[in-house]
């Protein structure tokens, strides 16, 4: 039974997701001792000849920016850019992965421990995070609790684990179907944003696979998913230690320093992440 990590990376004009993926793949090797493969539309051999070896497989896809939407990317309180958001491809993970058991991660997920290796010994064939903890600890974000106020539980698609099973094939086909009919599902599940979100598609698919009820189709990934929003600013990553300025609630431009050691963390502020990688 083969196992490894699969990343998706499609650059837009300001954010180099491939660079993030290279950074992450090195950390996955260091902390988890797992091979990493990448799905991309970027010619990595030409653009990153010195780093291409960090990947087990480089899988080229021409579909990565089909129907891409625009999204506002913030960089702390005072800066943001509206950029292409090429994220409609997670459903293809089932078909594209070279592994029997796969952990899929967003490239802005920072690995600092081997906790996720425990996925491979879990009985459940599909694992997601339902809950996540903001590194500011006290911040509760309703949009990360439910897809909408009256609708279904929110699941994170930032990182997930799956084995290649017939049931999971149906699950990923369902995500494709939701992606293709996103406006319909947006109306059905009453969420406001028109930007396609993998989190929403996964949440709806989990709900449907559970028979439109609470159920146990999906298991929980090991450990806690920490995250920093794009209003927070990551300022340093050294070994397993991440330093982040956390936006103060209702105090524009004011931050609290947080030091996270030995924990994985989802850094949504991609600009600050790239600044750290470039250091």
């Amino acid at each position: 039974m083969t196992k490894g990590v699969l990343l998706f990376a499609s650059n837009n004009k300001s954010i180099d997701y491939v660079k993030q993926a290279i950074f992450l793949a090195k950390r996955i090797r260091k902390y988890m001792d797992l091979p990493t493969s990448i799905v991309t539309d970027t010619d990595i051999e030409s653009m990153y000849p010195n780093d291409v070896d960090v990947f087990d497989y480089v899988i080229y896809s021409n579909d990565m920016n089909k129907n891409s939407t625009n999204k506002r990317y913030a960089d702390g309180d005072f800066s943001d850019k509206t950029l292409k958001f090429n994220n409609k491809n997670r459903a293809s993970a089932y078909d594209l992965t070279p592994y029997d058991s796969t952990i899929v991660m967003d490239t802005d997920y920072i690995i600092s421990n081997d906790l996720l290796n425990n996925c491979f010994i879990q009985q459940k064939d599909l694992l997601l995070y339902k809950d996540a903890t903001h590194i500011g600890i006290h911040k509760i974000v309703p949009e990360f609790e439910k897809v909408s106020d009256t609708s279904v539980d929110f699941y994170w698609a930032t990182v997930f684990f799956f084995r290649k099973t017939e049931e999971n094939k149906i699950f990923f086909n369902l995500i494709s179907h939701i992606e293709e009919n996103y406006i319909h599902y947006r109306n059905m599940y009453q969420f406001k944003t028109s930007v396609y979100r993998n989190d929403f598609a996964f949440s709806i698919a989990v709900h449907i696979m559970n028979g439109y009820q609470k159920g146990n189709f999906v298991g929980s990934l090991p450990g806690t998913k920490f995250y920093a929003t794009d209003k927070d600013v990551a300022i340093d990553i050294k070994d397993d230690e991440i330093k982040i300025l956390v936006q103060k609630n209702k105090r524009l431009g004011e931050y609290t320093g947080v030091n996270l050691k030995g924990s994985n963390c989802h850094i949504m502020n991609k600009f600050s992440l790239e600044r750290i990688i470039d250091q």
């Binding site: 309703p142 106020d149 009256t150 609708s151 279904v152 539980d153 059905m188 599940y189 709900h207 028979g211 439109y212 009820q213 609470k214």
Partner: protein, 280 residues
């Protein structure tokens, strides 16, 4: 083995007997080998009479004659039923699946009240809106909308207390509230909680560790909504009842017992769907 259901319905400006008929249809649509008793002083439409194995008059006169919200006869259920044991449900409930297996659990008890109820999304209700007094005065968190009893010394004593509390609710509630009035009118949930507390039998008549028996409680303020301006839950989420009598509320498939609480949930279409299914 027949499992018994009992409802008490008294019409006011609203036709609770019709609600009971719908509830009875929902029981027959999903549960075999059941017997249903309706306790009422009102007439039951002829076509619905076969739904009930027993239609029993409220004994000893109508103690709720002057009430809009008629609960003063509820304590008589114990004495009126033709059964040795029964589940008692509110009339504004639908039974959406076979719950006969619940009786295997209930038969372990002389008296049982559910103390955990759920939202339409299957989340445990933590009622900080309607049940403030329960928390403030440490009353047992009982829901009388679904309960069970066997004719037994314990249940008889409990219902005797319920009679006294119902007839003297101001005094009993004041005593339970440490001398403070906390209710403008009596409620069966509070009265049952007070009786339970007086008898100190919470450990004998409920079990918060089990998921079932329970029901989905549709009071709008307990649905874990952030935006809670709705007076009616039907203003916030859609009702989708298909011809197979499968019910979705919003995005969520319903099962078990559905306590719809809002009177206009019952409409002619719903009645007809059940009638068609049962050949009435």
């Amino acid at each position: 083995m027949t499992n018994n259901f009992t409802m008490l319905a008294q019409n006011s400006d609203f036709d609770y007997v019709r609600q009971a008929c719908l509830a009875a249809m929902s029981i027959h649509a999903t549960n075999k080998d059941v017997s249903i008793c309706l306790i009422t002083n009102n007439s039951v439409p002829t076509k619905y009479k076969p739904l009930f194995d027993h239609i029993v008059e409220i004994p000893w006169g109508d103690h709720a004659a002057d009430e809009d919200w008629k609960i003063s006869n509820r304590w008589k259920i114990y004495h009126a039923i033709p059964y040795n044991e029964t589940v008692v449900i509110d009339t504004d409930m639908l039974i959406l699946e076979d719950i006969n297996s619940w009786f295997d659990f209930l038969k372990n008890y002389d008296l049982f009240y559910t103390s955990n109820v759920y939202t339409y999304r299957g989340e445990l209700v933590d009622d900080n809106y309607y049940r403030k007094a329960f928390k403030k005065y440490s009353l047992p968190n009982l829901y009388s909308g679904f309960h069970w009893f066997k004719k037994s010394d314990l249940a008889h004593e409990f219902y005797t207390w319920l009679e006294m509390i119902t007839n003297n609710w101001q005094q009993f509630y004041k005593a339970a509230g440490n001398g403070k009035k906390f209710a403008l009118r009596p409620s069966m949930d509070v009265s049952a909680a007070v009786a339970c507390k007086i008898m100190d039998i919470e450990h004998l008549i409920t079990n918060s560790k089990v998921k079932n028996p329970t029901f989905t409680h549709m009071k709008p303020k307990v649905q874990n909504w952030d935006v809670n301006f709705a007076y009616r839950w039907q203003d916030r989420v859609g009702v989708y009842f298909d011809s197979n009598l499968s019910l979705k509320i919003g995005n969520h498939q319903q099962s078990g017992i559905f306590h719809y609480t809002e009177k206009d949930f019952l409409n002619n279409n719903l009645m007809k769907k059940y009638e068609k299914c049962l050949g009435i």
